[in-house]
């Protein structure tokens, strides 16, 4: 599953960040790496971008970036 498929209010854990280059590095710089817990807070008015919470702060990402973040359900 990727983050792009998650629903509002869901909490997930990052398994892997796919892709390469600057876009991937940026996601990792923002603290998204293996094992990070993410909560999908809400979608923007046109269903994109997505607001997520991680490590106690709030981040907005587009779905196209979310598709690079492989996740699994929290607590597995």
């Amino acid at each position: 599953m990727t983050l792009a498929e998650s629903k509002e209010g869901q909490t997930v854990v990052v398994r892997k960040v796919r892709g390469s280059g600057p876009s991937k590095r940026r996601l990792m710089d923002m603290g998204i790496s293996r094992g990070t817990e993410l909560k999908v807070e809400r979608f923007a008015p046109l269903m994109d971008p997505v607001q997520i919470r991680l490590k106690g702060y709030s981040l907005a990402l587009r779905r196209s970036e979310c598709a690079f973040i492989e996740t699994e359900h929290a607590g597995k």
Binding site: V17, S20, P22, S23, K24, R25, R26, L27, M28, D29, M30, G31, S33, R34, T36, E41, R42, F43, A44, P45, L46, M47, D48, P49, Q51, R53, K55, G56, Y57, S58, L59, A60, L61, R62, S64, E65
Partner: protein
């Protein structure tokens, strides 16, 4: 002199700290990417002067966008003596990721553990001495917004210099460390990067940092180094299953989270923050856009009501006026006095028409500008601006822009009618892709900046006095609509290409502090006043002389004919060949030429034109009254003029900024040509369609 660099993540309070240390008044705002260039200042610690530099915020030392590159290059090339690493204590884990990279530089670091007040609300209690011991740095708790902890911060800086205490080396996993130490051995003594330790270079090589790699390649030592590097990159990949860059990033993440767990105790788990509650309303899918529009609408109606419409200030003679009315009454009085006491014709015209008629019109709107800035500063300081970017990203993407372009547009006046396109053009540095940046830069000048505001206010007062706020709201909506159209056009036909991903932190809401708001709004208003009293005054006098000469001593009631035959009058008349299609006469043309130097000059020069061409010397009245009484003018013409002023050529300082930021005259010239053409087409449509219908 010793150098202090203020570095840290975006929006952690660096500029606040910098302002406190140096007494500067650089722009502070509650969204990431406020500072995009270096600011310099001085501070005195124990009688010694230090040079302080405020850096743009950065999430990592592998720079992502242009503003981050500025920060990185400064740290690597300039090698400051101390880094003051401002750290957001309420967001410690992510902030430590950068701190780990800073201490890899082996420059003494003082951590300013900032935003303790918010950390407490989030339930984080940080142990500063433990944090300091783990990293080998000094840690000082600060609340930069209240100027607290600054003396301790200064002391720590001078102490760490005298002790010359380098930070500790944090070791990552053994797979990485083995490769790093081997690479270090090869690098040692070669000094490719004289200011940084070899360990840093080795790590950056493994991270495949573009700048470091290309530097090494050009230094001609690649034959020996790169095969070894390839081998290690492969080795890390085999051991961790990831590319080396990811492996190192994950190692730093893990180290940061280890330190975080060790130094922080967390209470109040699961309690919802006020910020989250506000977001659930403000960013709500249905309410969000509605709230945005209502806020802007309220902004305009309130500002115009209080500053221009309601007459709530008593005068000596028992009349009541609005604040803007008060200012213009004052300038009318000056103008009257000037015409009574000054006998020389040329001097009288210079003072009455050139100075008071021109600059008075610009100064008259100071109360409006001030109030606008108060509201805009409040919005910028609240944290709402980042939400606007979030709400609008998808919409803007359809037009070839993106959420972060909103920051540029807002800085140049996209939220109200106050701002400036020059910092707006620079703010586009936060966009990574060159094409996104270019399009944002080219549409940013179409926003309603603080200099266009008096033009609108004057014309609205003359022709739409009963719906001032509403008209401004309409102009606001049009400025967005037209810039989106322009962006779409540019993206389709001129600058097709890839878009930058949108990844943006949404900061915690802050209650704006009223004292700061007023200081902030005042310092911006003061800039406006200073500009009006210097540049606008100077250029307006040049225009006045072009309207005065060549001068024949004619009888007074030929003032208009006289003006028409001046240098400026003839130029304006020549332009009528084109401008007649959008209903502008030679007088407006003169004003529009003035507006190319600075947009305030549109009313400056128009004021001078109408003051000079006016035969009734006895009874001076405000420009807006003259225009609404003139038979040449109509609401339609006023509206077409407002839209034209909104869209046509950026002012000269903006053109210069576009040249600087794009590095090419090509784009600077293009911005003038395309926006003037665009303005002409739109004004043509407005003017002619309205005439056909009526």
């Amino acid at each position: 002199m010793l150098n202090i660099a203020v570095a840290g993540n975006p929006n952690c309070g660096k500029t606040c700290v910098f302002n406190n240390l140096t007494g500067a008044r650089q722009h502070v705002g509650n969204y990431p990417g406020v500072t995009v260039e270096l600011f310099e200042g001085f501070t005195v610690i124990n009688g010694k002067r230090f040079h302080v530099t405020d850096l743009p915020g950065t999430y990592s030392l592998t720079a992502y966008s242009k503003d981050e590159l500025v920060a990185r290059n400064f740290l690597i090339d300039k090698k400051p003596d101390v880094i003051v690493n401002v750290v957001d204590a309420s967001n410690l884990e992510r902030n430590l990721y950068l701190t780990l990279q800073l201490i890899e530089l082996k420059i003494p670091v003082v951590i300013a553990l900032n935003m303790g007040d918010i950390a407490v609300k989030k339930g984080f209690v940080v142990n500063p001495s433990r944090l300091g011991a783990m990293l080998g740095v000094k840690v000082v708790e600060t609340i930069a917004r209240n100027n607290s902890g600054m003396e301790e911060l200064k002391t720590a800086c001078s102490e760490i210099i005298s002790e010359s205490l380098p930070p500790r080396t944090i070791h990552y996993s053994s797979e990485i460390e083995d490769c790093v130490s081997d690479l270090e051995k090869i690098l040692s003594g070669k000094s490719f990067f004289p200011h940084v330790p070899d360990r840093w270079t080795a790590l950056k090589m493994l991270e495949q940092d573009e700048t470091v790699i290309s530097c090494l390649k050009t230094s001609g030592s690649s034959e020996k180094l790169f095969p070894v590097l390839e081998k290690y990159i492969q080795k890390i990949h085999d051991l961790t299953g990831d590319d080396s860059e990811t492996a190192i990033a994950e190692a730093r993440c893990a180290a940061a989270s280890g330190i975080f767990r060790d130094c922080v105790s967390i209470s109040k788990i699961g309690k919802r923050l006020i910020t989250e509650k506000i977001d659930s309303v403000v960013c709500n899918r249905y309410l969000g856009p509605l709230i945005l529009v209502v806020i802007v609408y309220m902004l305009f109606t309130c500002v115009f009501k209080v500053a221009d419409e309601l007459q709530w200030i008593p005068l000596f003679n028992g009349e009541w006026v609005s604040p803007v009315g008060l200012f213009s009454t004052f300038f009318d009085f000056l103008s009257e006095t000037a015409s009574t006491y000054i006998k020389s014709d040329i001097l009288k015209s210079m003072i009455k028409d050139g100075i008071i008629g021109g600059v008075g019109g610009v100064m008259g709107f100071v109360p409006l500008i001030f109030l606008m800035f108060v509201f805009i500063s409040a919005l910028e300081d609240s944290g709402y601006v980042a939400r606007i970017a979030f709400i609008l990203d998808r919409l803007l993407r359809a037009f070839g822009l993106q959420g972060k372009s909103v920051l540029s547009l807002i800085v140049s006046g996209g939220l109200g009618g106050g701002g400036c396109a020059v910092p707006g053009v620079m703010a586009a540095r936060t966009l990574r892709e060159e094409k996104d940046r270019l399009i944002t830069i080219l549409v940013t000048p179409m926003m309603n900046c603080g200099a266009k505001l008096p033009v609108y206010a004057m014309l609205i007062a003359a022709f739409f006095p009963d719906s001032r706020g509403q008209m401004m709201f309409l102009l606001w909506a049009l400025s967005w609509a037209f810039s989106l159209m322009a962006a779409l056009f540019l993206r389709k036909f001129i600058i097709a290409g890839e878009q930058t991903p949108f990844v943006m932190e949404l900061p915690v809401y802050h209650m704006p502090a009223f004292k700061n708001l007023f200081i902030h709004a005042w310092s911006r208003t003061w800039l406006y006043i200073k500009k009006a009293g210097t540049i606008i005054l100077g250029i307006n006098l040049i225009f006045w002389s072009m309207m005065y000469f060549p001068h024949q001593d004619t009888v007074p009631d030929h003032a208009e004919e006289q003006l028409r035959h001046s240098f400026a009058g003839r130029t304006g008349s020549a332009l009528e060949y084109v401008s007649k299609y959008i209903g502008f006469d030679w007088k407006i043309n003169i004003a529009l030429i003035g507006g190319f130097a600075a947009k305030e000059l549109v009313i400056g020069t128009l004021g001078t034109v109408y003051s000079m061409g006016d035969d009734a010397l006895e009874n001076p009245e405000p420009l807006s009254a003259k225009l609404s009484a003139s038979k040449d003018w109509s609401p339609l013409r006023a509206f077409a003029l407002m839209v034209f002023v909104m869209l046509y050529a950026p002012c000269m300082p903006t053109v210069a900024a576009i040249r600087r930021e794009t590095g090419a005259w090509k784009w600077a010239v293009f911005s003038v040509v395309y926006s003037t053409t665009f303005a002409f087409v739109i004004a043509f449509i407005i003017y002619n369609s309205a005439r056909i219908f009526s």
